[in-house]
């Protein structure tokens, strides 16, 4: 099988992993210091770069592939499960390394996201994955971004070595609770997954601790942290269960991200799964809720007080505001940052602009428009120098109708 044929199989097998981040690692360059000779290939400068976008709207930042899609596990939701008839392939370590370098030199990618089916055992699989990163770093001086999937219960020395070369490590919890995991992924051990996450957190924090005088610097370990992914819609878990688990994972293991992946039909699927269009809107609402929890001061209870499932027709912040109309309208001239952040439509950037600009003037509707605030959404909740929302509107049962998008014929884009 030639490389391109393998690539078709092993990229197809990797596409259900939503993560594509290439940001937040330490800064590296291949430019020699003070005009000296170049060292290796590549750079990282803090911000990630999305080098392309597929028509599914997802960014293509990293070469996202499996080392092999052969797998001993039989997870029902996975296209690569042991009992699937999908064609199998395997890259050698050298093939994966060469492909990464060739793509990188042409500026197609920021680096590599390498995962693998579990073959033989955890240690063997982890070692193969780790060797690709090791070769890129040591044999080729590769300075680009590397994200490795961690195999649960792999030997600590392999994990330590993986963290030495990788920018990010991740391990997927896949499902929000043990019952679902037992049913859909009988060989996966949620406890082992969590122990591995705990181990990663311990190592990441140790590597970041300031070195005491006279003591050896701890070895580098995954400076871009760890992340995980949960599949949405393959089991019966509601949004509250998903958000509770993700809040737990952020708090327990200091994850950089919990990715949600709407379960989508796969070729050669098991009959035990819902083969319907992926719940993309639900996935989107979960991401919005995740954002509210991480950056806007909301907690799971506030977001899900309206029920276990988020409203699909409006975003969770608007839903919260409609449940708490007694807290509005806010006087833009006086409201606190925390209050403004809870106003529908106002994001962090706009709130910062408001806080800065209101020291100079009494803000009017036109000012908010100029600062790019989404007026239709925010104005019913805000009081400005030239605008006072009608209390009747704010209390009206029909207020929500303003925000729910009108049904329209699906337009074929392009």
């Amino acid at each position: 099988m030639d490389i391109t044929a393998k690539l078709a199989i092993l990229a197809d097998a990797a596409k259900y992993d939503a993560s594509c981040a290439s940001s937040g690692t330490d800064k590296r360059t291949s430019a020699g210091s003070k005009g000296g000779p170049a060292r290796g290939l590549g750079s990282t400068e803090g911000a990630g770069i999305c080098h392309s976008y597929a028509p599914d709207g997802r960014c293509i930042s990293l070469l996202k592939i499996l080392l092999t899609n052969a797998c001993a596990f039989d997870c029902l939701y996975c296209v690569n499960r042991a009992t699937s008839n999908t064609p199998r392939a395997r890259f050698t370590v050298e093939e994966a390394v060469t492909l990464t370098l060739d793509f990188y030199r042409r500026n197609y990618i920021e680096g590599l996201f390498l995962s693998s089916g579990v073959i033989r055992n955890a240690d063997y699989t982890m070692e193969q994955v780790m060797r690709v990163a090791k070769s890129l770093r040591l044999d080729h001086g590769f300075k680009g971004y590397i994200h490795l999937k961690t195999i649960p219960d792999a030997a600590p020395e392999l994990i330590a070595e993986a963290g030495l070369y990788a920018d990010r490590l991740s391990i997927n919890v896949e499902l929000p609770n043990e019952t679902s995991l037992k049913r859909l992924a009988p060989e996966k051990d949620l406890r082992a997954v969590r122990r591995t996450m705990a181990d990663l957190r311990g190592r990441i924090e140790e590597a970041k601790e300031p070195t005491a005088a006279g003591r050896a610097r701890p070895p580098r370990f995954a400076p871009a942290g760890q992340s995980t992914q949960m599949i949405v819609g393959a089991d019966a878990s509601d949004d509250r269960a998903i958000l509770t688990t993700s809040a737990n994972l952020y708090g327990s293991y200091r994850l950089k991200r919990v990715y949600f992946s709407a379960f989508s039909p796969i070729p050669d699927a098991s009959a035990a799964l819902p083969l319907a269009a992926p719940p993309l809107v639900r996935e989107h609402r979960l991401y919005q809720a995740d954002w509210l929890m991480r950056f806007y001061g909301f907690n799971v209870a506030e977001i899900t007080e309206g029920g276990g499932m988020l409203d699909l027709s409006i975003d969770p912040k608007l839903a919260w505001a409609l449940r708490h109309r007694e807290q509005f309208p806010l006087d833009v001239a006086r409201a606190s940052r925390e209050q403004l952040l809870r106003t529908p439509g106002l994001g962090k950037t706009v709130v910062d602009r408001i806080l800065s600009a209101r020291r100079f003037r009494m803000l009017r509707v036109e000012d908010l428009r100029r600062m790019r605030a989404p007026l239709a959404k925010a104005l019913p909740f805000l009081k400005l120098a030239d605008h006072t929302p009608s209390i009747t509107t704010l209390e009206s049962e029909r207020l929500i109708e303003r925000f729910v998008p009108q049904p329209r014929q699906m337009a074929l884009a392009l």
Binding site: L7, S30, S43, I119, S264
Partner: protein, 480 residues
Amino acid sequence: MSPRRIALAGPSDVAGWRAAARALASEGVHPHDVVWTVNGDGGDLFAAPVATEAPPLAPSALSVPRAFLDLAEVALLHSDPGRFDLCYRLLLRLAADRTLLGDAADPDVVRAHGLAKAVRRDKHKMTAFVRFREVARDDGAWFVAWFEPEHHIVEATAPFFMRRFAAMRWSILTPERSAHWDGATLAFGEGGRRADAPDSDVLEDAWRTYYASIFNPTRLKVHAMRAEMPRKYWRNLPEASLIRPLIASAAKATADMVAAPAPEPKKGQRMTPIEASPDRGEPSSLQALHDEVDACRACPLWEPATQAVFGEGPPTATVVVVGEQPGDKEDIAGRPFVGPAGALFDKAAREAGLERDKVYVTNAVKHFKFEPRGKFRLHKTPGPTEINACRPWLERELTLLKPQLVVAMGATAARAAFGKPVKVGEHRGRIARRDGAPDVLVTVHPSYLLRLPDEARREEEYRRFVDDLALAANYLAEAA
């Protein structure tokens, strides 16, 4: 007064603008009286270019915030012909009011930020969408790209490619400027033509294969793609030729997957079964108990926790110290007494003469009870139900260890030791002797000491804690 004509050396001549703007400002020239032109634009054929050299300005005469210079440096690279005028106007306004940039609603400030944002986006898209094609030359490989930026960003963005591809030799050609790196020097030249760059690369088929394979046809979101990768970039992206066919076939590909009958599971093809990972510890009855605890589901605390945290220490210990429950650090490490309270205990034990390595330490409750709060976990005190659910584990641990003394630190441990609520304040520092069971010494939990706000009080309580532990040290001495 006739307008002053300022001719800049090129569309990205930020230094020229800065020199001219300083000179004009020092003369107090009003923005309306300045016409900005760019040499080579042919914009104003009738105006004789005026030298931009101006009398040097005393540094104190014109002082504007650093943030403005950073903003102008970016905004001036925009293709908007009004950018020089806007930045000069802002400069004058800032000279009068240094706080102006904070007024996020001011139209000039908004516009300057808008220009800068567009430039930054264009630069970012250049770092993303440049596609190199390899050219074989007699002296080795050269990588060449053709790119069409919207703003005047080639000089500003080229250093990124130098830092990234320092060991390669490359050229980026654009209609206005070109950048060249020969491995040692970054040089800029005239613009080029698309035909100057190669029209394909040997890796592009593989790249298109990757693009097609990583696409998930069941989640078509064309709008999201176009928001981040506008069509103007498509003509220079080798993968873009696939976009239309992929979209066109997506619906059918999805329908086929959904409609396909569930296949027969592949038989006899299971891979080699998972080999059990080698046991990394010596089995003992304590070890067996440890494994059992980890599978405990007697109360709901197991689910949000990482793992049960079992006791640790010599199996022959005559003194067993019982804490409340594992904390954040213990839950992560899977070992007791490794967090801040554990460290304080170690310190106090040392001072009390209680040899730490001869003591067995464990907790009344084996799973961490907490509430997630952002990136942290707030400790929550275990309730009677949880203490009782966990009590059999402590009892079995003590049965195996057969210590002479149990040191119960805090109310939770005391409750677990006696099987009923016990007031720590009333019992602390006294040895309770029991028939057929180890003695019990009640004291405070070290985390209580950590929480005391008053320093004098904390010191006093700490001394009492050390005194309590000294009582336990006697048991070690007797055993020896």
